[in-house]
Amino acid sequence: MGSISVIAWMDEVSAVIAAEADHLTQLDAAIGDGDHGVNLTRGFLAVREAVASSGDLPPGRQLILAGKTLVSTVGGASGPLWGTALRRAGRALGDAPELDGARLADALDAALAGVVELGAAESGDKTMVDALRPAVAALRAAVERGASLAEALEAAGNAAAEGAQATVPMQARKGRASYLGERSIGHEDPGAASTALIVAALGRALSA
């Protein structure tokens, strides 16, 4: 059935965020303050190092470490949000030895709940929630209908990407972009865009 290596996931996230940093920052410049790419690059680089050098921890502990590291290095809105997300995911996993499909669905559920609890964003507010929630739902559905983890991750990745794309026509109601009112319409939300990258990276962190 396969499982996710947290180390590999964070490696992949760190690489793709760094590669897309400029694009994310430009998205943020359009409706925010132009730091989102830089923020996440700094954070996931630190996460990658922390996780890689943390020895032989169960995946739940690795995610908690990743979350704490994000909180401690990112700042801004995305730091506490993604930090809380990963910490909650880790706590949901507990000391489970493996991150398989069912556990991943639970973990991401917890992550989403943490983001919503801290940020109070609803679907349609033009935030990372608009990418994360459909991804979590797609993953859960795929796992429940017995799809392979690879298939489930593909479904989640697609849903996240579509969710991010769907933020373009939305008017922001949370975060910095909300200050623009109607002028926020017509731009992809940077946090949703990065969330799609982070979810898609799961597919590349799958070990047999």
């Binding site: 132009g34 801004g76 809105a77 506490p80 949000l81 109601r173």
Partner: protein
Amino acid sequence: MATEVSAASMRKLLNDPADVVKESLAGLAAAHARVLRYDAEAQILTRTDAPVSGKVALISGGGSGHEPLHGGFVGKGMLDAACPGEVFTSPVPDQMLAATKAVDGGAGVIHIVKNYTGDVMNFKLAAEDAADEGIHVESVLVDDDVAVQDSLYTAGRRGVGATVLLEKIAGASAERGDDLSTVAAIARRVNERARSFGIALSSCTPPAAGRPIFDLPVGEVELGIGIHGEPGRRRGPLGTARELAREMVEPVLSDLKPGGSRVLAFVNGMGGTPELELYLLYHEVDKLLRAAGLEPTRNLVGSYITSLEMAGASVTVLELDDELESLWDAPVDTPALRWGV
């Protein structure tokens, strides 16, 4: 990062764009060693005599790029510590916790938080950590920006110019020995009685981004901007200073609805607008306030809460009473505001 950003790609005095904040803080501390100290490890600034035993401590923080806010306001009579984040990025809870511990004199610590999603969340996590360590933290939110309308459908009003006034006045309250709830109440009073509105005549370029956040042609103005280089609520043709002053003062007054007649008028530069223009604008603001039956018995004119090198200005009006006035007048000894000492 995908693109190579270097000192030479911007009109900026810097070395590596990644080191701007740290190097600038080192310079601030070198220049003002009498007043404040820089802990590079914890990435915080504290007044040299911290912790002051028995005194309520005030800390604030936020993204860098708004200098002198907040680091320039650390010192006797104002902040006990500041937590500078990366440019336009909220600091992290670790900094706030370190600052809280460094300045706690046993009488409690006030976190002055500008109302931005990032600042609010990071300070919230820090306050939880501090509570775990047994430190009494009281958070005061600053949200004076009337340019943010429909705040039910937004992240709420932003904290802008009132932050400077609040830090000064609450700092004086703490300095004279008020207890935690008194200082917090005075701080909240300042926030309730202050309103602001800002405009931009140019964008600004965050060092790590390497290019301007938005394009603004000459002859146009962004109305209702915050302090993070973000575009404003709307764009219009650039009018005269007289017209612009009216576009700022009117929403401020109609929202503030001052009961009394005494106000503090604060004309703030966004970083790239010279004093010549700020005083010219102050002249217009002063006239408008008087025409509205208000007397600016106190004022502040200068670049105190900025957006890097953005051209533009904001106007803050604070309704005064005897206590706020005397707390404003009380001695202050920081790099950016100093009198009575």
